[in-house]
Amino acid sequence: MSDIIKLTAAEIAEKIASGELTAVEVTEAHLARIEAVDEKVHAFLHVDREGALAQARAVDAKRERGEKLGPLAGVPLALKDIFTTEGVPTTVGSKILEGWIPPYDATVTKRLKDADVVILGKTNMDEFAMGSSTENSAYGPTGNPWDLTKIPGGSGGGSSAALAAFQAPLAIGTDTGGSIRQPAAVTGTVGVKPTYGGVSRYGMVAFSSSLDQGGPCARTVLDAALLHEVIAGHDPMDSTSIDAPVPAVVDAARNGSVQGMRVGVVKQFRGEGYQAGVVQRFDESVELLKELGAEIVELDCPSFDLALSAYYLIAPSECSSNLARFDGLRYGLRTGDDGTHSAEEVTSLTREAGFGPEVKRRVMLGTYALSSGYYDAYYGSAQKVRTLIKQEFERAFEQVDVIVSPTTPTTAFPIGERADDPMAMYLADLCTIPTNLAGNAAMSLPCGLAPEDDLPVGLQIIAPAMKDDRLYKVGAAVEAAFVEKWGHPLIEEAPSL
């Protein structure tokens, strides 16, 4: 294994800026790694070899001309296949968009390009980001680099696996109910769901508009912060984008500390369904926070128990409408256009053939929840639950600076185990969903391996809206303390593939 791929994004950027490495060398090393292991991992749906090398060459040329390089110039990145990329296929993990080449770049894509980040390709995901295992991809599952028979989390399993398999030092994910944080947790990597509205959703194929949020994925807290700063900030193309300065996340990541902070532990985030090793590592993390100078505060948030139910009404409702545009008429798959079927029939045949079972299930669930006679009981009530959860977070943050919890109740489960048991699958997002409903910020970072299966456990840190910097301040302190305790970053314990 080349040493280049073991470097962090911050280190790579520094070496390119100093001339120790060229962007082309770095890109080639990662492309070679993808070539060597992706047959096993299947993190990528599309590798844009030529595009990546062209971007890398442009960075090297810039340096040669003496131009100032941005903080992530030349650093390779794996982009979740939910962001549109002009001229490069975008499938959202679905057959219905197979072969679609968008004529426009998402704002996130554009910002990455403007920052000279090298986009290696597009990563695998649960179809339309619906899932917690990446098994719902129409293009086959992704393996967890820690154990290829296990799921890498979802929906952004391709991005988390690419990081854990050293195919890229940076990746982008999206988080609707935990799709950045849960994959980070089960692959021993770092993932951040920024405050809703912090990162533009323009060009990010919508699953559930009021919950979706793009965010950074990396192997270290600092790398995540550097990427966060590149992609965040107001975008006039997204009406729900926050028009305020981006919290100083890089600064926070460079100055990690929990000294004197009040850290909340929510009673509802443990109990039945939580794996013993996960609870053990979480409790140790809380002890560590105390040792580092934090004050621990017990919190009671009773409405969190209704969060999963509210989520499984709101997200399907919005998705049933968001996915209506996939009708086989303007782009993507068309099925049944043989001269005997009407446009209406072709639409129904296309959607039947193009959507996988989880997508159909959620589209129908959402159609049901919004239909007349059921709206008040389901969608309407779910929105009331949302208000209660928001209020409980607000009350909590009057008492504490951040909240911590396990990211997900269990470590990575075997591929296939929950594939046709939606309710079991949905439990993976138990701890992550309340944050999406309330719109505030959260991070997952590794806090050890579960003793019973030697698989990574994630620690979730939750901060109030627009206080994303607190995640990095606390995360960096915890990360440093763990590295010191373990003698190395956790990811080094991952098998070499």
């Binding site: 679609w100 080449i101 968008p102 004529p103 426009y104 809703y196 509205g197 006039p236 009406s239 729900t240 926050i242 209704l306 999963l308 139910s309 509210a310 499984y312 009404l313 209506a324 086989g328 008429l329 303007r330 782009y331 993507g332 798959l333 256009d337 009407s342 446009a343 209406e344 029939e345 072709v346 639409t347 045949l349 959607r351 039947e352 079972p357 159909k360 299930r361 589209v363 129908m364 669930l365 159609t367 049901y368 239909s371 008040d376 009981a377 389901y378 309407g380 009530s381 779910a382 929105q383 009331k384 949302r386 208000t387 209660l388 939606p422 309710m423 309330a438 719109g439 505030n440 809206a465």
Partner: protein, 98 residues
């Protein structure tokens, strides 16, 4: 809580434009019933005097000035079209209203 019948699933599939196969109707009827049964708990708060939250942010009045921005070229607009004719999207016969 009323169970979700096969007929209801068929109705939902029509609304959602999904040409489900017969075996899918049965399969989804069972699963949707399970899920709805589990999430119906939210109606516990139906009577509470709580305003609904449709959006996590308290933003209002996000608007843009009425200024023309470049459109796509028609080639770009039609680049993904499964079929096209006369610079228009070509679709099968529409059965809707005239």
């Amino acid at each position: 809580m009323p169970g979700i019948t096969r007929e209801e699933v068929a109705h939902l599939a029509r609304l959602a434009r999904l040409e489900l196969k017969p075996e899918e109707l049965d399969h989804f009827a069972g699963q949707l019933d399970d899920i709805i049964g589990a999430v119906a708990r939210v109606s516990e708060v139906a009577d509470q005097d709580v305003p609904p939250t449709s959006h996590p942010l308290p933003l209002t009045n996000v608007m843009r000035p009425d200024e023309v921005r470049p459109s796509l070229t028609p080639e770009q607009a039609l680049s993904g079209a499964p079929a096209q004719e006369q610079q228009r999207f070509k679709v099968p016969q529409i059965l809707g209203e005239e």
